[in-house]
């Protein structure tokens, strides 16, 4: 990596190698191919958004690996009522569900 590349803030190939390795090893160790996580994410988004209003773009599904144990971590940001829509508003699009789970909007 030369001086100019560093000056331009370009990431070194060693750094890229390390990050790629860390990512791929998480999947290797958990025995879950990265593409499967994308499918899991789609499924979760579909199920959760039937009942609560979530920020679909910000949902993160990842696998972590600590001390021999793998963990599937799902981070789903809820859309608050800040834009004038309460989390429960979307339930109006699914009337049958909302009637079965009135507590979801409270």
């Amino acid at each position: 990596m030369n001086f100019v590349e560093r000056l331009l803030g370009k990431r070194s190939s060693a750094e890229t190698a390390k990050q790629r390795l860390q990512l791929v090893l998480v999947h290797d160790r958990a025995e879950i191919p990265p593409g499967v996580l994308a499918l899991i994410k789609d499924d979760i988004v579909a199920v959760i958004s039937q009942r609560v209003n979530i920020d679909r773009e910000q949902v993160v599904v990842s696998v972590t690996h600590e001390d021999q144990a793998s963990r599937l971590v799902v981070d789903i940001p809820l859309l608050s009522g800040s834009d004038g829509r309460a989390p429960g508003r979307s339930l109006n699009n699914a009337p049958r569900s909302s009637r079965r789970t009135p507590s979801a909007s409270s």
Binding site: M1, L21, L25
Partner: protein, 262 residues
């Protein structure tokens, strides 16, 4: 338990298992230990040629397992050290010629006579690898500072641990300090961060290695090449000496300008 049987493995091929086995085995013998190096790569044997003993093979470990010779007849003495022996494997058979239990039996026989039995594992994670790991008291995983090799090392470390043979120790082979400094090669710390495994040696890239395999003379026998020093250090750590891990030295442009080396 005394750790006599040491298996050298890697997952990926071509990272330096055979060179490591030959040099660590020879270095242990030069430290006065009675050592046998055992080729675990049935069908693709190479430990013999790397050690320069290929012309002396009459019997091999498969002949012994199948009852065609006594163990002593298959052992080849390397006269460059006082007590160094090679137990070659068969070249015209496949990995299924020996079962893991038979490898354990062979090593149990060798344990009676030797201080150390160093097994050169084949690449891969199939039968040959399982044969090589089955009798191990200690497993050394060789990796290069390169993504495919590190990834395979991680897989192998997981397998070795699942066989109850952990914790493994890592040898980083063919490190080029100048390229690490330019951040175009994974550093020792990068590899530790990724694999969370103890390091037992760092072997720098060294032109002397090719010349040594050309000649069939492991580098530890003659010379002070950087790799020879690194292999001797590994042998000393294996016998329990406290040898600090030396980071391969590098020189920066201004040090070269001043004619200074660290």
């Amino acid at each position: 338990m005394e750790e006599k049987v040491i298996t050298v493995t890697s997952g990926k091929g071509g990272v330096g298992k055979t060179t490591t086995t030959a040099n660590v085995g020879a270095a242990l013998a030069l430290l006065g230990r009675k050592v046998v190096v055992l080729d675990g790569d049935i069908g693709l044997r190479n430990l013999d040629i790397v050690m320069g003993l290929e012309n002396r093979i009459v019997y091999d470990v498969v002949d012994y397992v199948e009852g065609r010779c006594r163990l002593r007849q298959a052992l080849i003495r390397d006269k460059r050290a006082s007590e160094l022996y090679l137990l070659p494997t068969a070249q015209t058979r496949d990995k299924t010629a020996i079962a893991p239990e038979q490898m354990v039996q062979v090593c149990d026989e060798l344990r009676k006579e030797f201080d150390y039995i160093i097994i050169d594992s084949p690449a891969g994670i199939e039968r040959g690898f399982q044969n090589a790991v089955a009798p191990a008291d200690r497993v050394l995983v060789v990796t290069n500072p390169e993504v495919s090799s590190v990834r395979d090392a991680d897989r192998v470390i997981g397998l070795v641990e699942s066989y109850g043979k952990g914790p493994v120790q890592l040898i980083i082979n063919r490190l080029v300090a100048a390229r690490v400094r330019r951040q175009e090669m994974l550093s020792t710390q990068d590899i530790i961060d990724v694999l969370s495994t103890e390091i037992i040696g760092i072997v720098p890239e060294d032109e002397a290695i090719l010349a040594s395999s050309n000649r069939g003379t492991p580098v530890v026998f003659n010379g002070k090449s950087p790799a020879a020093i690194a292999y001797r250090d590994i042998a000393r750590r294996l016998i329990g000496e406290n040898v600090p891990l030396a980071q391969p030295q590098t020189t920066s442009w201004w040090q070269r300008l001043l004619g200074r080396t660290e």
